[in-house]
C-alpha cells in the first residue's frame, strides 16, 4: 500500500487472500488412489502439483483487478478459490459481499428445457426464490435479447444465444463482487460490447470485479490494477499498462518447447510422400533466441530444418500463417519468393525473417516442403500447426483487423 492510503471505515477489503496455497494430488492410475485410501494416510503414490504459491491479494471495494499469465499460471485456480469453488490447501480467503461468478457460462442449463425454465433453475442455484426470479426476469430477457426464443428448448439455441442467456442470468442477482473468467471472449461482437458496457456499469456502481482474460486490450481498458501470475506465483502487480508490457516481455523471452518437431506428432496434422522431411521448426527473434510471442511490427524468424532424402525436382520450403479459425493470413515459399535453391540431398536450414505487421492475437504456423509453387501438386511433407505464436500489442498506434497497412492520412478542409 502507498503511504497516502487513508484507512476509511468501509475500506475493509472486500476480497483478500493471505499466503494462499493450492496443491493438487495427481494419481497416475486409479488403483494407486485405492491403495492410498486403504493405507490410512500412509500411502504416497501421487505426485503433487502446486497450482498456487503464497498468493497475497487485496482488492478493496469498487476496484477492478485483472489477472494475467500464461496457461497453467494459476489464474483460473485463483479465481475459483475466490469464488469458493475450490478450497485452498492453506492460507486465508476473505470474500465480503454477494458474489456472482461467471466461470463457465451456461453449465447448469438442461438442453431439453426451455430458456425460461433454465433461467429459473439457474437463478435458483444462485440462491433466488421463484418470486424473486419473477421480478428480475424481464431484465434478464431484455438484456439477453432472446424474447422470441425464450420458450424454446435451449438445445435449439446457437452457442452465442446460450451464452447470452447465461450471462444475463448470472448478472441478474445484483452482485457486489463479480468474478469473471474469460467470459468476454464468447458470443458475438455486439454482445461482447454489451457485456463490457455492463461491466462498466457495475464498475460505476462500485462493484468489485476480478477478471481473468487473455485479451490484453480488455485488461488495459477495464482494469484499475493488474496482477501477473506465473507458475502459481504472483510475480508482479500494478497499473495495467506496466504489467501488460512485463507480461509481453515475459512470454517473448520464454523458450517454447512447442516449436520442436518430433516425427509423428499426434496433434499436428501431417502428410506427404517424405522424399524430403521437415525435421525441426523453431521461432526465434533476430538474435536467435527462441520466442513464442512477438510484438506487432517487430521481426520474427521462422527456422525450418529440412532433410532431403533423395534427389527431388525443384523443392520449395514454405510457411503459412493462419488465425484461430483457420483462415489463411499469409503464406510464402522459396519458389514464390524467387529464391534460388538447388535442394540436393542433405540437411538444410531455411530461415525466414519477416516483420510481423499483424493484429495482436494468436496465430498458427503450417510448414511444408513441396515441389514448385504450391503444395497442391507434389507435396513431400506438410505439417499443420507446426508452431503457434502470439502477436502482442506493439509500440505503434493500435488498429483493428489483421493487417497493419501503415496508412498515411491527409486531411484538409474543403469548402469552408
Amino acid at each position: 500500500m502507498s503511504e497516502e492510503t487513508v484507512i476509511l471505515e468501509d475500506s475493509a477489503p472486500s476480497l483478500r487472500t493471505v499466503d494462499l496455497n493450492k496443491t493438487f494430488r495427481v494419481y497416475a492410475r486409479p488403483l494407486d488412489r485405492v491403495r492410498d485410501a486403504l493405507s490410512f494416510g500412509r500411502g504416497h503414490r501421487y505426485t503433487e502439483f502446486q497450482a498456487l504459491r503464497g498468493i497475497n491479494l487485496d482488492v478493496p471495494k469498487g476496484e477492478t483487478v485483472g489477472l494475467i499469465g500464461q496457461n497453467g499460471s494459476g489464474k483460473s485456480t485463483l479465481l475459483k478459490v475466490l469464488a469458493r469453488l475450490m478450497i485452498p490447501t492453506s492460507g486465508i480467503v476473505e470474500v465480503r459481499g454477494r458474489t456472482a461468478s461467471i466461470i463457465e457460462l451456461g453449465t447448469g442449463f438442461h438442453p431439453e428445457f426451455t430458456g425460461r425454465a433454465n433461467v429459473y433453475l439457474s437463478a435458483g442455484l444462485m440462491g433466488l426464490t421463484h418470486a424473486e426470479v419473477d421480478e428480475v426476469f424481464p431484465r434478464i430477457l431484455e438484456f439477453s435479447e432472446l424474447q422470441d426464443f425464450i420458450d424454446r428448448p435451449v438445445k435449439t439455441y446457437s452457442s452465442g444465444m446460450w451464452v447470452r442467456l447465461a450471462f444475463s442470468t448470472a448478472i441478474s442477482i445484483n452482485p457486489q463482487i463479480l468474478l469473471v473468467d474469460e467470459a468476454l471472449s464468447v458470443g458475438d461482437l455486439l454482445f461482447q460490447q454489451k457485456c463490457i458496457a455492463a461491466l462498466r456499469k457495475f464498475q460505476e456502481a462500485g462493484v468489485t470485479i476480478v477478471f481473468v482474460s487473455h485479451e490484453l486490450t480488455a485488461i488495459k481498458t477495464l482494469c484499475s490494477r493488474t496482477v501477473l501470475l506465473d507458475k502459481g506465483e504472483k510475480i508482479s502487480e500494478g497499473p495495467p499498462e506496466a504489467i501488460v508490457s512485463e507480461y509481453v516481455s515475459l512470454i517473448a523471452r520464454r523458450a517454447s518447447r512447442q516449436n520442436l518437431i518430433i516425427r509423428e506428432g499426434e496433434e499436428r496434422r501431417r502428410y506427404g510422400s517424405y522424399e524430403a522431411e521437415i525435421v525441426e521448426v523453431a521461432l526465434t527473434d533476430e538474435s536467435g533466441g527462441p520466442v513464442s510471442g512477438v510484438p506487432c511490427g517487430e521481426l520474427l524468424v521462422v527456422v525450418v530444418r529440412v532433410r532431403i532424402n533423395k534427389p527431388v525436382e525443384s523443392p520449395s520450403v514454405g510457411i503459412l500463417i493462419r488465425d484461430r479459425l483457420g483462415n489463411d493470413i499469409y503464406g510464402t515459399n522459396t519458389c514464390l519468393a524467387g529464391i534460388p535453391w538447388s535442394g540436393h540431398p542433405g540437411t538444410w536450414e531455411v530461415r525466414i525473417r519477416m516483420r510481423v505487421d499483424l493484429g495482436p492475437r494468436p496465430y498458427y504456423l503450417a510448414v511444408a516442403v513441396h515441389s514448385g509453387r504450391d503444395h497442391l501438386g507434389v507435396c513431400y511433407d506438410w505439417i499443420d500447426n507446426a508452431a503457434t505464436f502470439q502477436v502482442l500489442p506493439g509500440q505503434e498506434s493500435p488498429f483493428s483487423g489483421y493487417a497493419r497497412l501503415k496508412p498515411d492520412f491527409f486531411i484538409r478542409e474543403v469548402d469552408a
Binding site: 493438487f24 494430488r25 486409479p30 488412489r33 485405492v34 485410501a37 469464488a83 469458493r84 469453488l85 475450490m86 478450497i87 458474489t99 461468478s101 466461470i103 463457465e104 453449465t107 447448469g108 438442461h110 431439453e112 428445457f113 429459473y120 433453475l121 439457474s122 435458483g124 442455484l125 444462485m126 440462491g127 433466488l128 426464490t129 421463484h130 424473486e132
Partner: protein, 264 residues
C-alpha cells in the same frame, strides 16, 4: 459447498425444482411425457397380477385371494424401488453434475435431496395406483394410509444418507457405481419381496432382522393390506437407523467435499 446466507425458502424451492427437472427430464420429448411415471407402475402391477395369481400362485398370506399376491409384491417393491432409485441416482449425482458443482457456487447437497424427493414422488404415484386398485378390486380403503408418510420419509433419508457416502466415493473411484448396482440387486433378493417370509429357511431368518428394507416391506404390507399397526419399538429402531445413516452420510459428504471438488 454451502454458500453463505442461503435462506430456507430458496433452498426448498431449489430442491423442488431440481427434483422436477429430474422427473420431467426423464420423459421430456416423449409424446406421453410425465404420464409414463403412471403408466409404468400400472403395467408392472397388471403383469404381476397375471404372473403371480394365475401362474405362480405363491402363498403370500393365508386368505390368498386372486389379486392378493400381486398386491403383496407391489407393496414391497414400491418402497424398495424408490430406495434403489435414491441410492443409484445419488451415487452419480456429483459426477453427473460435475459441470454444475465445478462452476457454480451453490449448496451441492440439494442435488442429493432432490434425488430423494424425485424418488419419493414416484413412490407416491406407485402407492396411489396401489390404493386405487385396492379400492376398485376389494372395495376397501386402507385407513392407515397417512401413516405411510413417516416411513417413506425415513426411508428416503436412509437412502440419501447412503447416497451421500456413495456419491463422495464415486468421485474418487468410478467403480463405486457398478458396485452399488450389484449390491442393490443382491439387497433386492435378500429382502422378502418376491417370496413370503415364511418360506425362508430357518438359518437365514436373521437376514430379515438386520435388513431395514425387510422391515419397511413388512410395515407397508401391514399398513396398506392387512390393516394392522407396526410396533412402536420397531418404529423407533427404524428411526434410529435411518437418521443415524443420514447423519453419518451427511458428515462424510461434508468432510470429503473439499477433496473431491479437486477431482472433478
Amino acid at each position: 459447498m454451502t454458500a453463505p446466507g442461503r435462506r430456507p425458502r430458496a433452498l426448498l424451492e431449489l430442491i423442488w425444482s431440481l427434483a422436477l427437472r429430474q422427473l420431467y427430464g426423464r420423459y421430456i420429448g416423449s409424446a406421453m411425457g410425465i404420464f409414463w411415471t403412471v403408466v409404468h407402475p400400472l403395467i408392472m402391477l397388471a403383469v404381476w397380477t397375471f404372473v403371480f395369481s394365475y401362474i405362480l400362485k405363491l402363498p403370500f398370506s393365508s386368505d390368498g385371494g386372486l389379486v392378493n399376491s400381486a398386491f403383496y409384491l407391489f407393496c414391497g417393491l414400491v418402497p424398495f424401488l424408490s430406495f434403489q432409485e435414491t441410492v443409484q441416482n445419488c451415487t452419480t449425482s456429483i459426477t453427473g453434475n460435475a459441470a454444475l458443482v465445478k462452476n457454480l457456487v451453490f449448496p451441492s447437497k440439494t442435488l442429493q435431496f432432490s434425488v430423494g424427493l424425485a424418488s419419493l414422488i414416484s413412490e407416491f404415484i406407485g402407492i396411489g395406483i396401489l390404493v386405487a386398485a385396492l379400492v376398485l378390486t376389494r372395495f376397501q380403503f386402507p385407513i392407515y394410509l397417512p401413516l405411510i408418510l413417516p416411513f417413506a420419509l425415513l426411508l428416503m433419508l436412509f437412502g440419501i444418507g447412503l447416497g451421500f457416502i456413495t456419491c463422495s466415493l464415486h468421485v474418487f473411484f468410478r467403480d463405486v457405481a457398478q458396485l452399488v448396482n450389484v449390491m442393490l440387486m443382491l439387497w433386492l433378493y435378500a429382502t422378502p419381496i418376491f417370496y413370503p417370509v415364511h418360506l425362508l429357511p430357518r438359518n437365514l431368518e436373521f437376514m430379515i432382522y438386520v435388513n431395514p428394507l425387510a422391515y419397511v416391506t413388512n410395515v407397508y404390507r401391514s399398513l396398506l393390506l392387512v390393516g394392522t399397526l407396526p410396533s412402536l419399538r420397531g418404529f423407533l429402531v427404524f428411526c434410529a437407523i435411518s437418521l443415524g445413516t443420514f447423519v453419518l452420510g451427511y458428515r462424510t459428504y461434508t468432510r470429503l467435499f473439499p477433496r473431491f471438488i479437486d477431482e472433478l
